[in-house]
Amino acid sequence: MAPTRLRPCRPTGAAVGTVALVLGAALLAASSGATWLWIVAALAAALVTAGTALGIAGAARARLVLLDAPRVAVAGEPARFTVAVRSPRAIAVRLVDGTAPVASWWQPGGEHRGVVVGSFAARGTVELLDVCLRGAAPFGLWPWERRGRVALATPTMVGPAPSAEGAPVLRAADELGDDERAVSRRGEAGALRGVREWSDGDPVSWVHWPSSARTGTLLVREWDPPTADELEVRVERTADPQAADTAARHAAGAVDVALRRAGRVRLDVPVPNGRHAAVVHDRLEAAALLAAADLPPAPRVTAAPATPSNVEGRWWPRLLVAAAIAIGAGASLVALRWPPTTTLVTLVGLPLATWVSWHHRRERSQLVVLFSALAVLVALLRFATGIDTTAAVGTVRDPLAELLIAIVVIHMADARERRNLRFALGSSAVLVFYAGALRVDPGYGLWALTWFAVAAGALAALHRSALADLGTLERDDPEPPRVAPRVARAVAVGVASVGVSVGLLALVPVPEGPVRVLSPTQVPVRSPIPTPGALAAPPGLVAAAGADGGDPSDADADPDRAGQQSVFGYTAFEPSFDTSTRGRPNPSVVMRVRAPAPDFWRGQTFEQWDGRTWTAADDPGELVDGRNTRITGFDGDPLVREGGEEFVQTYFLETDLPNLVFAAYRPTQLILDADVWVRPDGALRADTTLPDGSVYTVVSRRLPVTDEILAAQGAPGFGRFASAWQDPQMQRYLQLPELPDRLAQLAREITAPFPDVHGKVRAIEAWLGANVAYDLDAPVPPDGQDAVDHFVFEGRRGFCEQIASTLVVMLRAVGVPARVAAGYTPGERDPFAGVYVVRGDDAHAWAEVWYPLSGWQSYDPTASVPLAGDTQSRGSLGGPIAAAVGSLAVEALRWLVPAVLVGLTGWGVVALVRRRRRTVASPAWAAQARFERLARRAGVAVRSSDPNPVVAERLAAARPAAADAARAAAGALDTAAFGRTAPAAADDAEAAVATLARHL
């Protein structure tokens, strides 16, 4: 029989959903700037691609040949088809007649020939069957299908399904009239039943004379009584399809009943030229006749699914989906700091919902639907009105996340069928990605990867249960399909996908950063500041500073004032700070900043220098209220209003901080859940201290800055912008106390060769680099002496405050407006979360120099922060990730190698113990195993139902040189196994197998 002709592959509907989900994940990742989401999306895309390739490979080269189909069948009853299917991968096959499914099964890869049981749906003559082959990829994510047609060698006549209700049957005898007995229409005489003694009433013709003569008594032959009635079933010709179908089904039912009564049945049907009547002996003959009758074709049945999609009898998929939802909810709840209501809903509701969905998996329960609807209403009300009576102190409020979690958990209760479970899995993906946008800590990566593994497992389990529902082929030569190698192959595919996706990430540039639309902000607890516009310390730290040995009274006792922990977290975060103090190093994480590129996170600026202390300006600025504030005018704003790029930063605070709002220069928009004092000196202060858990977003505008651009702006009194340098507003930033002469002289000497400001700054930096050393152990200047003077000429050792102060003082001495700024350096980049991790040690003070076109430009000789214009190339995601993964791998190897060694040793010990136990139980076990190994290595198939002599014969056929040894070995093994117990038998067997091994 010619193989079927199949059209090329095309994707199925499920593919579109998967693509949509992956694209959505990528979009969310791009908009939130979280690298983890990129990684998860890339992994998913890689796995889907691998699944696609496998699926195409499976379906593209599949071949199906229909070897045998029943000639006659009854609609709705099992019919057996013999098929031969060959495909390199596992595929699911469906045979369809028109729209009604006939048979469906799945099979693992390979060549299979066997019998499948299906059923036809409607009466008629079937000549063509549609074939649909689906490549079953490991996760069922992107099955490709091919459709084709197969012609049946002989058309199958499908009779109607017998109708259960009775139909009036015309008795043939009724036509004869009432006075004749129905028996006159009897068929052939009954069969001989036997011989018995004569009794009254038997006709003489029944006597069997030979037996009677032999035995001396009258013996008669007894016949079975003739069959009673002959029934005729007549189907009338009609043109109405519905009536014809009903009549045919009634006829089939009547024939069924009549046959069971063991009578003769004659079926009379209309044929194209007249009528045809025949005696039918069984249902199949009746079905053939009815199928061939000249009746209008049966109405096409709409394809009800042949196999229900309920996930019956398997709890694995449901449990895995529930686990995926739990992980997604947990990831969000960690970011929200475990709000009590939602945590309770998840902990109690999710197991309950899973149990309910398992309990009602077969049919829908109206009660469950009602309760789910009510619960969703309650959740929506809570979201809409914002009432939360059970909010605890310290939790982060995000009503949208809580609503999402509640809806997903409630939906799980109503997840009966497989597609509901897939939808629930998709919604858990939404939860995980939302959590990814909320969280910035590195722990999220673990959650995301765990979710990915669990979701993949759930998808695979759902897919396998779908395949199991389809049924399998009854093979001609039953050999259990080997499942074990597929696991290894799947693992290899998974590892390859991971490698490919990490490699692909090398092409993806670092995302631009959080999109303003998604900017989250929350301030968990408000503590209003006592004096408007002032700096306020967070409430907890005051007491801590007192208990911590940083006692204010100690400060007077200790002339160095070294090691004082400022209540503001850093000495420079006060309204004024003394350059001779230094803070205690504090390595704990202060905040995480999600930004695409590094920059100084500036908090304060200082204007006045009195020889020892820097003081900030008095003007508190104006209070701007609202959540989303536009920041308009600062002192020293650049003359260039347009241009530059938008630089979005989101700050996630992890300790209690004062009410400073950190921002990169120059901030244009602030999204903060509090009112803000916008100070003209460029600092921002909130009207509440910002506790642990606060989040806010700043949008800054960065102008492109390079050495050439800065140099082109000249200097006060020099260059094109000379007049701009004389701006009276900038005079404040030239304020200096009475400077020692040598200091001013030195400043002039250093900057003389450079006419432009940028050159001057670089010159001072170079001088500092050559002449002073960075040292945390700086000597304290004596009272009365200018701190910078002491540092430059006597101490020559200092830390960031001294160096910054020196730079600013020298610049002011030559007429360049400059000031000191305090804040945080960018910190360490965490490539996975896409954040800069800022620690207490990163608190810093640096110099800011004013330029007419570029505004305030930060300079810091100690920290290596590149100029804004030099960060055009942002680098790719993959580079740092690969490096981080590499370091992780090295880290893992350190404990992986001993773990592997321990595992191997344990496995070796267990194997030895098992071997010993089996040898004690049956001494010839090892010899038997060796025999089978030798046979397999020689290319001989060894099935579990092959006894040793059969294997030996195959081996003899394959290797004639070893024929005798093989037969001897088989005989010895059988003797050792089944003979009378002889201790030497096992040794004989071993010797025989050893001889065989030598021959091979």
Binding site: G194, R214, P923, W925, Q928, L973, D974, A977
Partner: protein, 334 residues
């Protein structure tokens, strides 16, 4: 018809294993001799002949089913001739009566009105029942007691059959018209159902040229006396059957009972028959223990005719099913 008594004392406890081995070896030699004797007449069917001889050695009854003209009756006749002892023959016709087979109570010749039991043709060492499925079920039922208990009960008296007693029956396949299929109870009493099949070309040519065939029948001489045959049948039961092997047979039987296409699986009688057949086959191969290969070689013939399928009739589909089952059930490994 005299009854042949056999006295076969089991070997003494001390030398039990050795005696058993010797007895088994003797039984095996007898079997091989029988096979050789029959092979001269039935050309080219060595496998079938040795299976038939194994059936006889195991003490079971043999059913030979095949299309007409392949030598079923000839095989049975040759086997009977080689086995020696008395021979009885019944030809199955539709009007055959049970009394014609087992015997009847007839008036005694001589004076007085006495009744005596006149033995039927089954009272012989080897009984050939030709075309058993052409007689009525009533006559077939008369064989139930004959085959199982080797006695005949007529008119309140039980008469034992001679020892050894072997029933060889032949039949045409049930699809052929004009037959009365054997009932499940009757056919279950046959230990082995053999199907000869058409000979290959070389064998058929040899038969056509006169080498083998019915002409050779007259030259077949008995290989042993009935007491030796009886002793061999007893000795076959001494072949060692390992526990794991009995488990294997039970699993085979179970698989036939639980198969979805089967309406009636194999009974315990079938299992017993299979084990005895395997013992006989092992003895003929010169071994004193049964191996799974013996069981597998005889499984189809021993089990197929006892199985009633739900959706098909006849031996051929049943044989396919037994082959499938044998290929599916794993063999015991040491």
């Amino acid at each position: 018809m005299e009854r042949v008594l056999t006295s076969f004392a089991p070997p003494s406890a001390t030398a039990r294993a050795d005696d058993a081995r010797m007895a088994v070896t003797a039984a095996g030699a007898l079997g091989r001799a029988l096979t050789e004797a029959v092979a001269g007449t039935i050309v080219g069917k060595a496998e079938a002949i040795s299976q038939a001889v194994a059936c006889v050695l195991s003490g079971g009854h043999l059913l030979v089913e095949d299309v007409p003209g392949v030598g079923k009756t000839l095989l049975a006749q040759t086997l009977a001739a080689a086995m020696g002892g008395s021979f009885g023959r019944v030809q199955g016709t539709p009007d055959l009566l049970p009394g014609d087979v087992v015997g009847a109570v007839v008036p005694d010749e001589g004076e007085g009105w006495h009744l005596r039991f006149r033995e039927g043709p089954v009272f012989a060492n080897v009984v050939l029942f030709d075309e058993i499925n052409r007689t009525s079920p009533r006559t077939q039922a008369a064989l139930l007691e004959v085959a199982e208990e080797r006695t005949v009960s007529v008119d309140g008296q039980t008469h034992p059959l001679p020892v050894p007693f072997v029933l060889l029956a032949t039949q045409n396949p049930v699809e052929i018209a004009g037959t009365f299929p054997l009932g499940e109870g009757t056919i279950d009493r046959f230990a082995y159902a053999l199907s000869l099949g058409r000979a290959d070309a070389a064998a058929e040519r040899a038969v056509l040229l006169g080498d083998g065939g019915r002409d050779r029948l007259v030259s077949v001489a008995p290989v042993a006396e009935p007491p030796a045959l009886a002793a061999a049948q007893e000795a076959v039961r001494l072949v060692h059957v390992a526990d794991v092997l009995a488990d294997y047979v039970v699993r085979l039987l179970d698989a036939t009972r639980t198969h979805p296409r089967v309406r009636l699986g194999v009974s315990t009688r079938g299992g017993i028959a299979l084990v005895r057949l395997a013992q006989a086959s092992a003895a003929m191969a010169g071994r004193d223990h049964v191996t799974p290969a013996d069981v597998q070689a005889l499984a189809v013939g021993a089990l197929a005719h006892r199985i009633v399928l739900a959706d098909a009739r006849g031996l051929v589909p049943a044989r396919d099913l037994v082959r499938e089952v044998v290929a599916a059930v794993p063999v015991p490994r040491p």
